[in-house]
Symmetry: C2
Subunit: 377 residues, 2 copies
DNA sequence: GTTGATTTGTTCATTTTCTGAACTTAGTGT
DNA sequence: ACACTAAGTTCAGAAAATGAACAAATCAAC
């Protein structure tokens, strides 16, 4: 459908925001003539549109941007029950939402998605014809074609061709992705990592997820396991983890672990804020727990920086704030455990997200495949 | 000089070994017609040559391979004094060698290289005209153009445009690279990681170096610091490191650290084998030291696996063997600290190397730029 | 042997994509 | 009003790939 140059062009715009034809030609290393043709084609198709006019010396330049409503995407998160389902645009905006019951049966999921589609698409007359893909986020390992779930403990799956099943049921292009990797793609396309080529997202939810972008592309690893930071051994010989080993980051720094440790100490705790409150009130146990969790997470992030030297670490969290003890300890632990000459060189951005994060991430997987294609060369 | 398709073709051959035109066309996704032209051009230039003929049904296919003597490269290691200098071919073979005095003055280094060239090139009549590049390996950070040394503590450099200085003095294309990264490139081009797209090399020398290949390309990181595994905090609160923090892997698992710990315990120790011997004789201190070092290195490698899920870990070592206690503990520690479902999934290859490793790595940097070009798209 | 099947590799007209130079357009500065 | 400047367009031609027809070199079967 789109030529490889057109895809590169869309990638550049999605990274840099609106650009004039001449700027794009320079970035892509093409002649103005070639750009002219590419841009006209994409304008005609409605993928691009002209935005502001920049006046300077000479003929004014016209910035071109992605037309946010040229395509719509459905995102489904299989991480919650009921499973949220959203209709999103090319800006990461959410146009409509609904929910479906979670199931472990791929056929049932495909049916539920198919049945949910009309409700989602009903909100806009043009959404149906412009629906360009479905993305599904799940907890587990996904292969590089973004079609098969190699393994999901949560869903009890092994080698499930979920994308094909949904595609056959709905007739819409479908791609699946691991939850943390979907969030990373979402941040690359829509979020605060747009222009960064090398970054890692650490997503703090009940568990700890992580995914890397390297040289502008999602890095999946050889078995799809890149970013499994949650099961780095951070406290050798520490508490047993559900994965079978001991002292994993997950056992100390996940929200679930923090809550469990708090309860074990007899602290009232339904959210991170609760313990933060008690810590700031001087409760020794709360302080100890947050210190331990923060140091562990900070150490793991420091390892990540040492190993991969990313240009940005983006920490997304659902609960509480990073202004409290936990966040402070994390940042201190990072600084203390990276090469001193690196300290402060790797920006760490904290981002509070809402519960749409997974469904939006899922939609971004479909958007990414629409814009940039499955495998860039 | 070479078109982008020709470079891709050379890359594929260097990864997979000799291939027929039809096989290459399939791998590159080109038509047989296009391949025919590309191959003829490279054969005419002497970059490729025909090797074996494979008989089967139908017309036999003729495998094409890189012509090892179509180009020569000089590699210089600035890691030792005197600095070794070799003449290498496209197979990683060493054709001639000499040495030059090490200096901290880039101009002096450039002069020494220029003066050493005739001796190296004298051994072959065709070497002079076919000399295609100089590679220099050094301890420090190098920018992505492989031209400037951003920082080298060992050489006392900051932003030294060494490649340009050598190029101006010798008239030969020159590229510089960090020592560990040069070794990784060498293993990718000539060694045991040819066909692997994602791998990490851990090189054990006096210090511990590490470099990653990701999606078939050297990954340098945002500040050139990817792979700085030596300064991961492995023993929080441990011994002070020369980098300024405490408990770095370097302080427990480098050969230098092992020797120092041994001497501190009053053990005779000039090489790893010495301590291995004493450990196998039952010396408690030796066993403790090797256990500590091996566990630390294994844990760091486990972190690496968890973070990046490489398809191969290649450990290169100059001294001793990996059959002893140290190697065993390393491998055990890796297995113990990766997700159980991953255990054994990431091959760990051990390779004993000789002291040519750095100079050969340096030459491979030049070879890589000749074959594949500076920045593949 | 001869014939047919089979697969590799070449040739060449055509198509696709990009270049580069000339040109048009739409402004600013004096 | 006039030159000046830079953005974007047009178009002939170059570069690179396609795809189909063809030549070449073998095996297998009779």
């Amino acid at each position: 459908m789109l030529t490889s140059s057109q895809r590169q062009l869309l990638r550049v715009i999605s990274e840099s925001g609106p650009l004039s034809r001449t700027e794009m030609a320079n970035i892509l290393g093409l002649s103005k003539g070639a750009m002219s043709g590419l841009a006209r084609d994409l304008l005609d198709r409605g993928v691009l549109h002209e935005t502001e006019t920049i006046y300077g010396q000479g003929r004014p330049s016209i910035r071109l941007d992605l037309h946010p409503e040229c395509a719509f995407f459905v995102g489904v998160s299989l991480l919650e029950d009921p499973a949220p389902m959203i209709l999103g645009d090319l800006n990461g905006g959410i146009i409509a939402r609904c929910a479906m019951p979670l199931s472990r049966d791929p056929e049932v999921i495909a049916n539920a998605i198919a049945e949910g589609l009309p409700a989602l698409l009903g909100s806009r007359p043009d959404a149906k014809e412009k629906l360009s893909g479905i993305g599904v986020a799940l907890s587990g390992f996904v292969d590089e074609t973004q079609a098969n779930c190699v393994k999901s403990t949560l869903l009890g799956w092994q080698d499930v061709p979920l994308a094909r099943i949904i595609r056959e049921r709905t007739g819409i292009e479908t791609f699946i992705e691991n939850d943390a990797k979907a969030v990373a793609v979402s941040e690359k396309l829509f979020g605060s990592a747009r222009e960064v080529q090398n970054f890692s997202v650490v997503s703090l939810g009940d568990g700890i997820g992580c995914a890397h972008f390297i040289e502008g592309r999602l890095y999946r690893g050889n078995h799809g396991g890149a970013g499994e930071i949650a099961h780095c051994t951070i406290e050798p010989g520490g508490a047993p983890c559900r994965c079978g080993k001991r002292g994993c980051l997950d056992t100390v720094a996940s929200m679930k672990a923090i809550k469990e440790m708090s309860r074990a100490e007899g602290l009232e705790c339904t959210s991170l804020s609760d313990i933060e409150h008690q810590a700031s009130a001087g409760n020794a146990a709360a302080i100890r727990i947050l210190h331990r969790a923060g140091s562990a997470l900070g150490l793991a992030i420091a390892h990540l920086i040492q190993m991969n030297d990313p240009g940005l670490i983006l920490i997304t969290h659902l609960e509480g704030s990073f202004d409290g003890l936990f966040g402070t300890v994390v940042q201190q632990a990072v600084e203390m455990n990276v090469l001193p000459r690196y300290a402060g060189q790797t920006p760490i951005r904290i981002k509070r997200v809402d519960s749409d994060i997974w469904a939006r991430g899922a939609a971004s997987i479909a958007a990414h495949n629409f814009l940039i294609g499955p495998n860039v060369n």
